[in-house]
């Protein structure tokens, strides 16, 4: 039975936005925490740590996000956990985000001039203090624009959770389209909602980049 696209269908799409946002926030926070560890490992003086984090980044950047989601979803069954699509999507997106943020932040940490490291260690600061009081505060300044920009990728990435069956915005669009069969209208609205979420972040990232780039040049 074909239904008309009405107010209720639109509301259904809008209410699915909360799951897209929830997934994005979880992936971003979780990915940020793991990503910081990855970035620290990547810039560490300890060789095995560097290898480990480099391998981690290589694997996640060299394989499709969709495969990563499938592997988490089906891999959980292998180790005997029954994982809902929701948890699988959250875990998969967190891991993926951590690899990309780790690589972005590695660049930011390494952009702090070598003299700062040397000055800090000659003042007697050990690694934790050196990172916390000298390197990271300077790296954060460089990191803000690309991190905000990457948030757009995270939001768009959550759409793949639709393929493993989690009902977020894209899956909601598929459901509504199956009932109304107005693909242009339905996916047009879905795209417009994503655009409304992502575009302000893109603009913000560009503006921050322009602001931070100016004084350092």
């Amino acid at each position: 039975m074909i239904r008309a696209f009405g107010y209720n269908e639109f509301l259904f799409l809008l209410s699915a936005v909360q799951w897209t946002l929830m997934l994005s926030v979880i992936a971003f926070i979780g990915g940020g925490i793991v990503g910081l560890v990855v970035a620290l490992g990547r810039t560490s003086d300890v060789k095995p740590l560097r290898w480990l984090s480099t391998g981690y980044i290589q694997i996640f950047q060299g394989t499709p996000l969709l495969m990563q989601l499938f592997l988490v979803f089906f891999g959980a069954t292998v180790i005997g956990i029954d994982m809902s699509p929701w948890v699988a999507a959250a875990v998969g997106l967190t891991l993926n985000t951590s690899a990309f943020l780790g690589e972005i932040w590695r660049g930011c940490i390494q952009s702090v001039p070598r003299g700062q490291w040397e000055a800090a260690s000659s003042l007697g600061l050990r690694y934790p203090g050196l990172m916390r009081y000298v390197i990271l505060p300077q790296a954060v300044k460089v990191a803000v624009p690309p991190t905000v920009g990457y948030l757009v990728q995270v939001i768009k990435g959550t759409s793949l959770a639709a393929i493993i069956g989690f009902v977020e915005l894209t899956r909601a669009g598929q459901i509504v389209n199956n009932a109304t069969f107005q693909p242009f209208l339905v996916f047009g609205i879905v795209a417009a909602i994503y655009f409304a979420l992502c575009w302000p972040l893109s603009l913000l990232s560009q503006r921050l980049e322009a602001r931070y780039a100016a004084p350092s040049r």
Partner: protein
């Protein structure tokens, strides 16, 4: 942990997987080639076109970069037939990939074009080169050389994101994996093997791009 891994089912369909991987490679290279042309034209339009053209290209770039690839695929595959344009899944996948990579590559190439010093173009004019020659030899080639790393990593990302076109059942690698999965139920085994194939493809692509760089762009001493 008592899971019994069975890879036989996966390796039994080895040729089927290779077919899928081959289509992934063809789709990726096709989309790269056409996308590159689209991007060069759009970058040219954006840097030196009239205002309405610049505005249109900007809108194209912003819309594509701020919406998910999956939604773009759905719009093309399900949306276009409603206006009378029937597409096979493979064709729709190809169009979606071109449209998507075109937007990203435009921004990359535009940055390259803007990095060309104005004096270079003036020098070309003074040497009596025609506008097309100036664009080809003085603007485009050095611009592509400058942005080559960014451009090729975008192409690798395109190859990886082509797995998403399995959502409309184009017969590429991920779709093949889904089909084998639904026949054999060895989900984890099949997806770990296919993930490995993608990783190998990504490494092969980056080796190939490094080779192309050496052939096409290693004509001066790197000043950086």
């Amino acid at each position: 942990m008592t899971y019994d891994f069975q890879f036989d089912a996966v390796f039994a369909s080895w040729d089927y997987l290779l077919d899928g991987a081959w289509l992934t490679v063809r789709l990726s290279f096709g989309a790269m080639a056409i996308g590159l042309v689209v991007a060069i034209l759009c970058a040219l339009g954006k840097t030196s076109g009239p205002r309405p053209v610049r505005w249109l290209i900007n809108a194209y770039i912003e819309v594509i970069r701020n919406t998910p690839f999956l939604v773009q695929i759905f719009l093309i595959f399900f949306g276009l037939p409603t206006v009378g344009l029937r597409l096979s899944p493979d064709m729709a996948a190809m169009i979606a990939m071109v449209v998507n990579v075109g937007a990203y590559a435009t921004e990359i190439i535009r940055a390259g074009i803007e990095s060309i010093h104005k004096g270079q173009i003036e020098a070309g004019l003074a040497l009596g080169l025609r506008p097309l020659q100036i664009f080809r030899y003085i603007v485009l080639k050095p611009a592509l050389r400058t942005v080559y790393p960014a451009l090729t990593s975008q192409f690798i990302l395109l190859m990886l994101s082509s797995s998403v076109v399995s959502a409309i059942s184009a017969d590429e690698l991920t779709s093949v994996a889904n089909n084998i999965q639904s026949q054999t139920f060895r989900s984890f085994e099949i997806y770990i093997v296919v993930t490995g194939i993608y990783l190998v493809l990504a490494l092969m692509f980056s080796a190939l791009f490094a080779g192309i760089y050496r052939l096409a762009f290693a004509y001066t001493i790197d000043r950086r």
